[in-house]
Amino acid sequence: MINHIVFIFIFLLGFYAILVKKSLIKMVIGLNIMEGAIFYWFIAITDRGGIIPIVQSTQVAFNLNDPIPQALILTGIVIGASTSAFLLTLIIELNKFTDSTNPDQLGGIIED
């Protein structure tokens, strides 16, 4: 329950930043926050209260936490980092033409 509430609150907070904020960097921050919310949520809901999925010896360990979501989230974090790095590059590039980071002066990101 608490996980769902936190996830929805932070996810929509990030979405709100993307829709409303006037600065492109703020929008990228919003995107990062959305990603963080999703990743946390996935780890939290698949946490079965087990131990860390690393064993010390070859014997079979019981009640491990699910390692698959962790692997997927690891992939997701790297994807998110490269996405935001590329978006920030585009912002640097755009700054060359406009002297500003305000999407309202870019003809609007939502409207055209």
Binding site: F7, L12, Y16, V55, T58, V78, E93
Partner: protein, 240 residues
């Protein structure tokens, strides 16, 4: 006008959030999937891959193809960033921070390097692996440019070297995959070459090699990204 837009967006988002919350609350608190990959992997991963870290076993063996896609994403981002920022000049500055910071960082560097190599090489034994260690490798170069000024690092570790390191890391990954076809008939299958007892450093088949390839690739890629981004922009007329 903008105030109305603002409030309406907030109301719509709150409404959406409420719907999502009501739906998500119906999900059982902890779903016990009967016939899933979780049971297979937690029961057999150590025996099948030799890796004590299950996350590493999944990333570089069961789902190594995903990791290949992921490192390719980094490669694509690097290519795109270099493509976009390549008309700029790097402002070479030889004076960085103060003497004390330089000496301290100079002494610390070998240890940071050792730490990153440890994280890469122990990917199958402890938390960490190619991605995390690679980022630390990239961070060494980034901190060097901050502390010593960009000239210092730029001269010792040129963009060509970085590109070579990055592509060779990627090619190492694909090469291991292709050897897998010859060796056991399937792309990216685990080569049983380092088969000492699980738990020792030289175990877990080809996982350490893939870790190494990914580590170099990510480290070099992130250094390239950083160096492209600190290049100075110059104004130009907007072309057609």
């Amino acid at each position: 006008m903008s105030r109305i837009k603002h409030i309406s967006i907030v109301i719509i988002l709150a409404f959406l959030g409420l719907i999502m919350l009501l739906d998500l609350n119906k999900i059982p608190n902890q779903f016990e999937y009967a016939n899933s990959i979780y049971h297979h992997i937690t029961n057999n991963a150590v025996g099948e891959t030799g890796s004590l870290n299950f996350v590493t076993a999944i990333l570089y063996d069961y789902r190594a193809y995903d990791s290949m896609g992921e490192s390719t994403i980094i490669f694509g981002a690097v290519s795109g960033i270099v493509l976009l920022l390549s008309r700029k000049t790097l402002p070479v500055s030889s004076h960085g921070l103060s003497f004390i910071v330089k000496r301290t960082y100079g002494m610390l560097t070998p240890f940071i390097f050792l730490f990153s190599v440890y994280i890469i090489a122990h990917g199958h034994l402890s938390p960490g692996g190619g991605f995390q260690g690679g980022v630390i490798l990239g961070a060494i170069s980034i901190i060097f440019s901050i502390v010593y000024g960009s000239e210092f690092d730029y001269k010792r570790y040129t963009p060509t070297t970085k590109t070579l390191l990055e592509t060779s890391g990627a090619l190492l990954f694909i090469g291991i995959g292709l050897i897998g076809i010859i060796y056991s008939g399937s792309f990216l299958s685990n080569l049983n070459i380092l088969n000492s007892e699980p738990g020792s450093l030289l175990s877990a088949g080809s996982i350490p090699f893939i870790n190494l390839g990914i580590g170099f690739k990510i480290g070099a890629g992130l250094a390239i990204i950083f160096y492209s981004m600190i290049q100075k922009t110059f104004k130009e007329e907007a072309s057609l």
